[in-house]
Symmetry: C2
Subunit: 413 residues, 2 copies
């Protein structure tokens, strides 16, 4: 049996392993390094571009850790249930000081009045007229929160690359930080290609398909912390593809969808090779091996295949880290769930397989059911699945009944 | 031993179990029901307000599932490696039809030319001049994707309450849906209270604290899909608190921070009780039992305690579901990780304990280390933790070495 064409039916001679392809991409991506100041109210989900240290102590004053009376500890020495210490009782007052034999009313969080060095809990006293009976002996510092006990001024809090969360913002404000240096979101140009594609709103004729990959990928880009430039469809024409790539040369990452294989209409790797360099073409993953990775003038180019499932898998494997690296961000693990596999997932040795699964509870057990389709074009199988199970290269599949990790790709970050 | 005050040191007579408190809140929250149309490009993360069905078939035409030649299957009957069927070869053409004895070149995704009922893979033919030799017998329908094979027009796709993800958007566009009916985000008024609080940017004196709870809670509200009205600090004064609650009576959920316990400065439950009804005051959870839940004129009021850690725990347990219910959304589980506990977490029977943990990898194992502090005021212990472990009411704690589920509260959704 022979082939009719030369390149376009030859397939890929060699497929790069996922980890190696990712390493090649890693070497090609530099952090853009553009930063800006963000007030805390607008900093949730942003990525720190600088180390943050505390600008003040928390607490910034010696404070009462309980409701009760501020006293001098030595005045309570020897006090007990049967033999209370009797002190003069004063209400709280901003300028209150505690002299020998005196007790000033304090609430949790109050500043410890001058002269006091301990707080007796309200439950351990009895108020009698203008005096207060203290039924316990206190050590110096008892029920007092010292300056800097929670956080000390100058203390290192966060490293660059940290993605800010709501409680981080509260924390930062409490230590006197009101704005932070964060990375600007990386700019990602998303360019859908293919002569069969029509724009949204048009009714496709037979042989035509509405553009969906660019839409999905651009929404992923935003979820991952990038800014998507979602471009119009470009047809399979070398000049037009070249123009499209040139137009977005100022982007931090270029992404194309479609035309990344080795068929006669798969022109993008050629165009990228001419403008720059193709680093990887064809990866040992399934479904979705016809992906290509390249670089043009220092800008990484992720060439995603046109089949929707293949497109998503490769976007997650390659575009997401490229975007994170370009934006100075860390690449956090996806949220995941442990589940018991209800059916074998087959896999070819040497290939990393990604299987869509539906997760449900059955008799108190979390189970993952592989979605019944092997097609890389069946978008509904992704949209109706809950997550993904990876089968590593060393393995020939995962047996029914095994515990697997289901990655939830559609959830942040 | 007696108490100096009456109410403010009496503590809570009874504490409601977390699940019961949540049920009481559930009964008090109605979905606001306000919807809007959103184009797909702006619908990521939004919640569907209506059932969605496919508006067209996918594929919407009979398509070639492989690169190769479209043929009449019957013309290949009996063909084999040694005895190929020989057909007249035609290039693809929009108006191509396949007559008896003819083969037309097609690519994956091409419309199947009229007359054809099968596609032979390019690897199974040889092109010889104006003819093509087919080395295999094809059944009718072989390598043909039928109309509606992936999704049929009219097919039910999503239920109301579904939170849209990037691949859902691609899917929806492919089935001819260009905009969707979604719920408007619920409006959540976040009102920080406490006479000790100063606004951001001010330098706190001894005894004063910068407002942080409202900032953290309002950022959580946005992550959970709500729209936060982050209000200025209100001091501990019944009239001012009443005014503040009245001002936001049009909100879908009211949230206060601070003043929710039973001390003399804890006025909010009283004010809510006067304007409406307090459903729950004091919950059997730790740290953070002094939470209150109420309802004013049909609007739920979540009264969070002022200690930062207690505030966050209760926001997650009560505000999050209230907001989701008000917005017509489902309440998805948090992302979680399984880990081995490095140290016992103690817990009181009858109380649900929430322990902050740091998660790390140790010798290939994921371990969860409880953060060494029991204080409910220590915000740094949250900000520097990775997640939370729950100890249920039935349990007296979780032993070292047990496998626990670490919930990552700070991550969406």
């Amino acid at each position: 049996m022979t082939h009719t064409g030369d390149r376009h039916h030859a397939g890929f001679k060699e497929r790069t392993r996922v980890a190696d392809a990712r390493d090649a991409l890693r070497d090609a991506v530099d952090a853009h390094g553009r930063t800006e100041r963000a007030p805390l109210t607008e900093a949730d989900g942003r990525t720190l571009a600088a180390t943050v240290t505390a600008e003040r102590n928390v607490p910034h004053y010696d404070r009462a850790a309980m409701d009760g009376y501020a006293v001098r500890a030595e005045d309570t020495f020897g006090a007990s249930d049967r033999s209370p210490a009797v002190l003069d009782r004063y209400e709280a007052d901003e300028d209150a000081t505690v002299g020998p034999g005196e007790a000033v009313r304090v609430h949790t969080g109050s500043a410890l009045p001058e002269g006091a060095d301990a707080v007796v809990m309200i439950e351990q006293v009895e108020e009698v007229g203008r005096e207060v009976e203290v039924f316990t002996a206190l050590a110096e510092g008892k029920n007092v929160g010292d300056v800097g006990e929670d956080v000390e001024a100058g203390q290192h809090l966060y490293d660059p690359g940290h993605r800010l969360r709501p409680s981080d913002l509260g924390m930062l404000r409490s230590v006197g930080v009101d704005e932070v240096e964060v990375y600007q979101p990386p700019e990602v140009a998303v360019i859908p290609t293919g002569e069969e594609l029509v724009e949204a709103g048009e009714t496709p004729d037979p042989g035509e398909v509405v553009e969906t990959n660019g839409l999905t990928v651009s929404r992923f880009v935003e979820r991952w912390g990038g800014e998507a430039r979602y471009r119009d469809v470009v047809t399979d024409d070398e000049d037009k593809l070249r123009e499209a790539l040139e137009r977005d040369r100022d982007a931090d990452v270029l992404v194309t969808t479609g035309g990344s294989s080795v068929g006669e209409r798969d022109l993008i790797p050629e165009v990228v090779d001419e403008l720059g360099e193709v680093l990887v073409h064809g990866v040992a993953l399934k479904p979705g091996h016809p992906v290509a990775l390249g670089v043009v003038d220092g800008t990484p180019v992720v060439m995603l295949p046109g089949y929707p499932v293949a497109c998503i898998i490769n976007a997650v494997q390659f575009l997401r880290p490229a975007l994170k690296w370009a934006g100075g961000m860390s690449v956090p693990d996806f949220p995941s769930t442990q589940a018991t596999l209800t059916r074998k997932i087959p896999s070819e040795p040497g290939v990393r397989t990604f299987a869509r699964v539906q997760v449900s509870e059955e008799e108190g057990e979390t189970v993952a059911e592989p979605v019944r389709t092997s097609g890389s074009g069946i978008l509904s199988s992704v949209a109706l699945a809950d997550g993904w199970v990876q089968v590593p290269e060393e393995s020939e599949g995962i047996a029914e009944g095994k515990t697997v990790t289901v990655e939830k790709w559609e959830e942040l970050p």
